[in-house]
């Protein structure tokens, strides 16, 4: 082994050291692990800025709304009281991929975080099919800038209360504001041009000689951009699962800027939709990558033993899975499960047992575990990944067991445990647990009586007979009524039984 000098020896970081570390990590990530990433943009921020970022859905730009202020106040109180530590990093699915590093991190932690976020998450964002199909990494920052400006212009023009009311209602329907199965039509090039032309026309119309009398440097109030008209076929297609889309297109009472507001909120919802479905994989991928890179850095003699130990301490606490009765238990830790499964895939490739050959014939003993992992990262989401790759060994390690819960019964029933008879059932149950389709309420618009009394009829198609939470249901319905402007009825349909 050749002896490089260490990349850093001090706990304090500086920009020169960050740069050395970045280049060393890049070398390993691109040339050894062969990751495929967006260009990186790494920003160092203070703890207050980290709280800022938390409270705007971890986006660098966001329109203003009280709910973000509430989130900030809550997070800040928890943080100051010492109940919660701040995340070491936040990473944004955009191109360039923006990672935030907290200034309080030690040099070792900065190294870990760069490997984790700027390479691990970055690779996942760029390659996973959900992100590729559903989000537009190049456009998101521009879109956010547009949204922020648009909402601010609306506040100025229509008043804060009006805007706040619409945003409140739209936020209440965010979970029902995504297309789950088919992608909405993208605006064609001609339509984009048409939009620009219309906007230009509007600005000309709105031009007033009076603005010329403003002193230099004072910009006249900007006109709110003309709302999109790209897919305004008036034909109503029912049933419709995307409530925000439906209300945007067909609500009889909304004004143009209100429709545009709904559009902004559902665009955000759609942007976050892949992240919800890939928590385990995304964190698993990033954790696996940082683990591999940190160990390689040590093997190459680029970081010292102290740094390695500090990294391992942090790593093990990140992938710690408390047992279900533990007071620290807060559900299955996505870092633990994701990293566990990916490390297990590597083991199955490198040292397969007979059991592995039986359960995972497709890749047990495959000499190139990175190809297997990259294929998984690219083509699966949590549900399908667990259904396909969770091995009996890992189920034993986690001591997973499945429970059956009938609301009417006083007790849960253990339906399967980590043994020969139970593996398949446990795996299937866990996979289903990560299926957003069954974890979230399936609500659709089924009828809108535009010619008659304008009543809107929604159906909640119950999955296995589970009803909606009653108090929140009525509150959300009040929001739907505000957006629709007339009566709204919600029926809960149980057609499975």
């Amino acid at each position: 082994m050749t002896h490089h000098p260490l990349l850093f020896t001090e706990a304090e970081w500086d920009f020169a050291a960050l740069d050395r570390v970045y280049r060393a990590i890049e070398d390993i990530a691109l040339n050894e692990l062969k990751l495929d990433i967006y260009p990186n943009q790494i920003e160092v921020i203070s703890s207050e800025q980290m709280l800022d970022a938390y409270s705007s859905l971890a986006m660098p730009l966001m329109y203003s709304h009280w709910s973000f202020g509430k989130l900030f106040a809550r997070e800040a109180a928890l943080y100051r009281a010492g109940y919660s530590a701040l995340a070491y990093e936040i990473v944004i699915n955009s191109s360039p991929c923006i990672s935030y590093l907290l200034e309080e991190n030690t040099m070792t932690m900065q190294t870990l975080v760069i490997a984790h976020a700027a390479f691990g998450h970055n690779h996942f964002f760029k390659n996973n099919y959900l992100f590729r199909q559903w989000t537009n990494a190049e456009g998101i920052l521009d879109y956010l800038a547009f949204a922020k400006g648009y909402m601010a212009a609306c506040e100025e023009r229509y008043g804060r209360d009006e805007v706040e009311a619409i945003l409140d209602s739209a936020h209440a329907l965010m979970d029902q504001g995504v297309f789950r199965y088919n992608r909405p039509p993208r605006p064609s090039r001609d339509r984009v041009l048409e939009k620009h032309r219309k906007r230009h026309e509007y600005e000309e119309e709105a031009y007033s000689e009076l603005w010329r009398t403003l002193p230099a440097g004072v910009a006249p109030p900007s006109a709110p951009p003309v709302p999109d008209t790209e897919d305004d076929d008036d034909e109503m297609k029912l049933p419709e699962e995307n409530l925000l889309y439906f209300l945007e297109k067909h609500s009889p009472t909304l004004r143009a800027w209100q429709r545009e507001t709904l559009r902004i909120v559902r665009t955000m919802a759609q942007y976050f939709y892949p992240q919800k479905q890939t928590k385990v994989m995304n964190e698993g991928c990033a954790t696996f990558v940082h683990h591999a890179i940190m160990n390689r850095l040590y093997d190459k003699g680029l970081i010292g033993e102290g740094a390695l130990l500090e990294f391992l301490h942090s790593h093990t606490s990140v992938v710690f899975q408390p047992e279900f009765g533990d007071k620290r238990y807060g559900g299955i830790n996505p870092y633990a499960l994701g990293y566990g499964m990916m490390a297990d895939i590597r083991r199955i490739c490198e040292q397969p047992t007979d059991e592995d050959r039986e359960w995972c014939p497709a890749f047990a003993g495959n000499p190139d575990y990175m190809t297997v992992l990259k294929d998984a990262w690219a083509n699966y989401r949590d549900e399908s990944f667990i259904g396909q790759f969770l091995s009996p060994k890992l189920m034993r390690d986690f001591r997973l067991f499945a429970l059956h819960d009938r609301a009417a019964d006083p007790a849960y029933q253990v339906s399967a445990i980590h043994n020969e008879r139970g593996y398949r059932a446990v795996r299937a149950t866990l996979a289903a647990q990560y299926d957003i389709g069954s974890a979230e309420a399936d609500i659709q618009v089924v009828e809108a009586d535009l010619k008659g009394d304008r009543q809107l009829l929604l159906h909640h198609r119950m999955h296995r007979g589970i009803p909606l939470h009653e108090p929140t249901k009525s509150r959300v319905l009040a929001h739907v009524e505000r957006l629709w402007g007339h009566d709204v009825e919600l029926e809960e349909i149980d057609d499975e039984n």
Binding site: F15, D19, Y22, V44, S67, G69, A441, G465, T472
Partner: protein, 438 residues
């Protein structure tokens, strides 16, 4: 191409707009919480950052969510099996939903529980003032940081051109010119004149031509020297220096007098407390140091701690003059008028033993008012009494007696109040004076 960007110096308060919107949204809950919190606060503590606990009613963010406890069935997986085998039963916990991950997420999305956050003193004061219905101008006066003024602090070598000190600069310049023997304009003129006369002389001799050459050389040297040695050089320039210093303000003592006999209930004390808080806030703007003395009285008076002042009860009759006596004693003992500005604020429900009012008037006009900057008296009534005593002229004995003092002393204020918004007018003149001074 990777870039590291240092964002730490970016302007702070990016989420300020969101915070303002949140405070506005939760206004009703926050007001309630602030009032409650101020009730327990010390008079001098209004101006502090303060933790507030509010209910999330009004800031709910509802979403549709499933409620598996109400019906249907489901399966889920837990880690950490100990010794269960298939077919075992586990009793459901009484509350919560079995430790499923839904719980945390649900609380988060729904936010039914109270939550706590810190409000800055500015935000607290806004709410405090809103209740008291202070005019805006006064609000700004009160929220201002203590007066500071720019004071001369000698001379510096760096500064802005507007603060150049010409006298000093020219003195330095003159000294330097002298030391370096910079030829003056008169020297040059003298040389030129001499040169001209020499040249005009049309009898060229050896001696004269060498004289001319010498003169020319001397002139050239002088002119060059004037160029090297500038008239005003940067090293001469001096600027007036200023530093910001707090305006020296003297100290004040604030006497809080209150009747604590049985007739003063919770509501009356709460109103009185706000009255004291406001006076204290105001005094703190004007004086670097403000002492507070709490004197409570029934049929006799005692100096007490703040806690006792507001929260303990005493039985007995009501003799107001005892409190005034106590105040005078304390003032003589500890607060000499030469060093202290004296303010007094008295709260009462207006009852006193008959005959005592005359004694109060005597003490006030002979001993107290000459010492006091300001004496404010509030009589706390309930709404019904307020209607009965609609006219300023009618009232109980003490009120009528105090009216005569108010007529004689401009720095004596009286007012009847029954709700927080009535408090401010008591101080109107006081603030009016401050505005006139500002």
């Amino acid at each position: 191409m990777t870039q590291f960007i240092d964002r730490r110096l970016n302007p702070k308060g990016k989420s300020l707009a969101n915070r303002q919107r949140f405070l506005r949204r939760a206004r009703a809950q926050i007001r309630e919480a602030v009032q409650k919190s101020l009730k327990d606060a010390a008079v001098a503590d209004v101006e502090k950052d303060r933790k507030i606990r509010i209910s999330t009613k009004g800031t709910r963010e509802p979403r549709f969510r499933l409620d598996p406890r109400q019906g249907g069935d489901r399966d889920f997986v837990l880690p950490g099996n100990k010794d269960y085998v298939a077919g075992d039963e586990i009793a459901k916990p009484k509350s919560g939903d079995g430790g499923q991950k839904g719980k945390q997420a649900a609380d988060y999305a729904e936010g039914e529980d109270d939550f706590e956050f810190t409000m800055t003193q500015e935000e607290i004061l806004d709410i405090f003032f809103e209740d008291l219905e202070l005019p805006n101008l006064v609000r700004t006066t009160l929220k201002e940081t203590p007066n500071r003024a720019w004071k001369r602090a000698g001379i510096t070598t760096a500064g802005s051109p507007t603060q150049i000190n010409l006298v000093r600069t020219m003195r330095n310049s003159f000294g330097r010119r002298l030391a370096l023997k910079r030829p003056g304009l008169t020297d040059i003129e003298r040389l030129q004149e001499e040169l001209e006369t020499s040249e005009r002389d049309d009898r060229p001799t050896e001696e004269r031509s060498s004289r001319i050459a010498a003169l020319k050389e001397e002139l050239a040297r002088a002119q060059a020297k004037r160029k090297w040695v500038a008239f005003v050089d940067p090293v001469d320039v001096r600027f007036n220096a200023f530093t910001e210093q707090p305006v020296p303000t003297s100290q004040a003592v604030m006497f809080c007098l209150m009747d604590v006999s049985g007739s003063m209930g919770e509501r009356e004390k709460d109103l009185a407390k706000r009255f004291y808080m406001l006076l204290h806030l105001f005094l703190k703007r004007r004086y670097a140091k403000v002492d507070i003395v709490f004197i409570r009285h029934t049929h006799d008076a005692q100096e007490v701690e703040e806690q006792e002042f507001f929260y303990s009860r005493q039985s007995g009759g009501t003799i107001v003059s005892t409190a005034l006596e106590k105040m005078l004693d304390i003032q003589r003992e500890r607060y000499a008028t030469a060093d202290w500005n004296i303010y007094a604020a008295q709260a009462s429900d207006g009852y006193t033993q008959s005959g005592d009012a005359r004694r109060c008037v005597e003490m006030l006009s002979n001993d107290i008012m000459p010492l006091c900057q300001y004496f404010a008296y509030i009589e706390i009534l309930d709404e019904r009494e307020m209607e009965v005593f609609a006219s300023e002229d009618s009232g109980a004995e003490l009120w009528r007696a105090y009216r005569t003092i108010a007529a004689a002393w401009p720095n004596f204020a009286t007012k009847r109040i029954s709700k927080p918004a009535d408090i401010f007018p008591v101080f109107r003149e006081l603030f009016g004076k401050a505005e006139a001074l500002a």
